[in-house]
Amino acid sequence: MNGARPGADYIVRPYGDTMNDGRVQLSFTLPVPFGEEAKEAGRQLALKMGLENPAIAHAEAMGPDFTFLVLYGECTQGVDMSAIVLDQPEFETLDKARLDELIADSLGRKLVVVGASIETDAHTVGIDAIMNMKGYNGHKGLESYHQIRALNLGAQVDSVELVRRAIAERADVVLVSQVVTQKEIHVANLKRLRRELDKAGLGAEVIVVVGGPRITHELARELGFDAGFGPGSYAEDVASFAMHEWLRRHGHQRTPAQETNDT
């Protein structure tokens, strides 16, 4: 692959049918009646986007007031693969058996994980995929881990209630899911949770991980959380990060016996 080699062709571009041809497809709606003007507007818009040789592959009326356009064009931009720096949590994903073993050896007790979808968010699909026994896509959830006590509080859990439960259950880890992101409501919700955690003095003690379709690690860190997980993350990813972070905070050299005394 081009991207794997240093040198002049380290710049990566879209690949249509010829390497580096930059061919991209896009589709959008213009709020104008279908016709030659609408198509020309679409073509000019693509030029302004920086696409060369834009071609309207399909244009169609969607009722009297809107036009649907499918375009192809050539993207002239490229990205230097060698200059890419990712902001993502650094840890190694372990499998379920290794994680159970690591928790038993390190904590000498179960890792307590409390999770919820907070505030107005009524969607449990994300938190369920990580926490429920069945998990998602063949990846078992945290409830299935022998060394994890997983408490899924469900949807629309008030931040104050989540913090209260985290304290009552002596949680090591708090997982928060946010699915609805319209008008940035997830950011407002997460800020509120952060304030409640700080108010309760849980800032340094508890590992707090955020997840959701539009959650990035960068956003989670920016809002004061330990990690953020987006789509395609599974229970073992979250648990591996949590254990990595737990060990970092408690020092790798401790023996299981000392850990038991800690609690």
Partner: protein
């Protein structure tokens, strides 16, 4: 035209068990009322508007009655008596309560108050009947919508933007428009007021928003020569009030499930069963098709393993609807296409389930929900998943097809997403119009055996619930793997034991004779 060989005795037994379950729950529910039922009653009398702090007047009046210890008698008696005594309209009464210039009391002449409350109820019923008549006339004048109906959602958060998108969807071919509700509204113990432009993942259900969308759909429908049906959410803590608003503003469909709020919103069980009866009764009277929410079970439970719980729930929803006086042609029992696409023969099991439901409820307008759980950012695969869903919907004679949107996992639908969904459905519904009539399932084959197994499991589940009672069944997490307790959840404080002289005119006015007789009510 039965296709799968199903044991009719099992279907009958399942229905009988569900009837027993519903009757037991209903009998207990009828010993209580809720703040939401009483607010809905006042809304039907015509009370509307908010105070200076945006608290709706129905909430103010019901709170006042609650504080005075009068709510156990029902709001209708003291309110009707005060209106009569002081010559006030319902709105003037509400304003006087807010101003603190009127003290509500139990009337001395109960019979006179009852008669006045009944008269106010008759006025409300006349308006609702007029709405139903307008719907009937419009449907007769319009080109009939062929089934499966194309049901599309709008969810911008802004009612005016919703209208733009809904009009476009109607132009593109939608038969039904559902305005998705702002997340969190189900847990508000009041209905927001006026036109709203800020919502999250949807738009607030308000009476003014209902009216604005109804007007817009009537306009575009008239232009297109079709009648565009309007749907909203009759669920949550204000279920009966939303039903009242929908009946007054001529909605055509309402999401309305007997157990959804308990299981998925942790709303108190007692509250929900009382509220669902009253709301469903209003929907039935107004000719509004309900959509039950069984599809939601599959967001937490597995579609293959939990298939029988959907069927069991449909039988229960059917029986609750019956007790609310609902005719079968308004019972939009819900189910969904949610089996993991990675499962071998998953399509066969979807086909088996959809056909099973069709045969178990031959006269109900079934509501079929598209894949959501296994939709991903791969919109191209998503479009194929939606196509398979449309094939099953068409081949098994589903009535209301909520169209799958390929960007389901990404954002609320773009205008073009809806357009492509309509094209997908129209292509399949047209080219496969009579496919269902041509299919014969192999006797003893995989599909038939699957349907038989699900039916048998559903029957056994219903019989177990009938034996232990609904409350215990929900406590054990028999639906969607979620457990709820009778004294847990939100809204319990709004449940009030009825006094002996409790009165509400609407059951008498709205329930058909059959439902009244079954509940031991005196014939009107």
């Amino acid at each position: 035209m039965s296709k799968l060989r199903l044991d009719q005795a099992q279907i009958d037994a399942a229905r009988a068990a569900a009837a027993q379950i519903a009757r037991t729950v209903h009998a207990e529910a009828m010993t209580r009322t809720t703040v939401a039922v009483e607010r809905a009653t006042l809304r039907l009398f015509g009370l509307d508007g908010v105070d200076a702090e945006d608290v709706p007047l129905p909430n103010r009046v019901v709170s006042d009655l609650l504080e005075r210890g009068l709510l156990a008698h029902g709001a209708a008696l003291p309110v009707a008596a005060a209106m009569q005594a002081h010559g006030l309209s319902i709105q003037q009464l509400g304003e006087a309560v807010v101003a603190g210039t009127l003290e509500l009391n139990m009337p001395a002449d109960i019979a006179a108050a009852r008669a006045e409350a009944f008269r106010l109820g008759e006025v409300a019923c006349a308006r609702i009947c007029e709405n139903a008549a307008i719907r009937e006339r419009s449907l007769e004048a319009a080109a009939p919508a062929r089934t499966p109906w194309l049901y599309l959602i709008v969810a911008t958060g802004n009612i005016y933007e919703d209208i733009t998108q809904a009009r476009a969807a109607a132009e593109q071919g939608a038969d039904v428009i559902a305005v998705i509700r702002s997340t969190g509204q189900s847990l508000l113990d009041y209905v927001p007021y006026g036109a709203t432009t800020e919502g999250f993942g949807g738009t607030y259900a308000t009476q003014e928003n209902f009216r604005l969308m109804r007007t817009a759909l009537d306009e575009v429908g008239e232009k297109l020569g079709r009648y565009i049906r309007l749907t909203n959410y009759c669920s949550g803590l204000c279920m009966p009030e939303i039903a009242a608003m929908g009946a007054l503003e001529r909605l055509d469909m309402m999401l309305n499930d007997a157990m959804y709020g308990i299981i998925f919103r942790d709303i108190n069980l007692q509250r929900t069963f009382i509220d669902q009866f009253f709301s469903r009764m209003i929907n039935a009277y107004a000719g509004i098709i309900i959509n039950t929410g069984e599809d939601n079970y599959l967001t937490t439970a597995d579609a293959y393993e939990a298939a029988h719980t959907l069927l069991a729930s449909q039988f229960i929803n059917e029986q609750f609807a019956r007790l609310s006086g609902m005719p079968v042609h308004l019972m939009g029992l819900g189910h969904a296409f949610e089996i993991d696409p990675a499962m071998e023969n998953g399509f066969l099991w979807e086909l088996a389930h959809a056909q099973l439901v069709r045969q178990a409820f031959p006269d109900a307008p079934l509501k079929y929900m598209p894949p959501t759980k296994y939709m991903t950012g791969n919109i191209f695969r998503g479009h194929v998943q939606d196509a398979l869903f449309n094939i099953v919907g068409s081949a098994t004679g589903q009535h209301i097809q909520l169209l799958g949107i390929m960007t389901e996992a990404i954002h609320t639908p773009f205008l073009q997403d809806r357009f492509l969904a309509v094209q997908n459905a129209q292509y399949i519904f047209n080219t496969m119009r009579d496919l269902g009539d041509e299919i014969e399932f192999r006797a003893g084959g995989r599909i038939e055996r699957r349907a038989q197994a699900v039916l048998a499991e559903a029957l056994s589940m219903l019989q177990e619930i009938a034996a232990i009672g609904m409350t215990a069944a929900i406590g054990r997490g028999m639906f969607a793997d979620i457990s709820r307790q009778p004294d847990g959840g939100k809204g319990l404080a709004g449940v009030i034991a009825r006094a002996d002289d409790y009165y509400n005119p609407f059951p008498e006015l709205m329930l058909p004779g059959r439902a009244r007789a079954e509940q031991g009510m005196v014939p009107a």
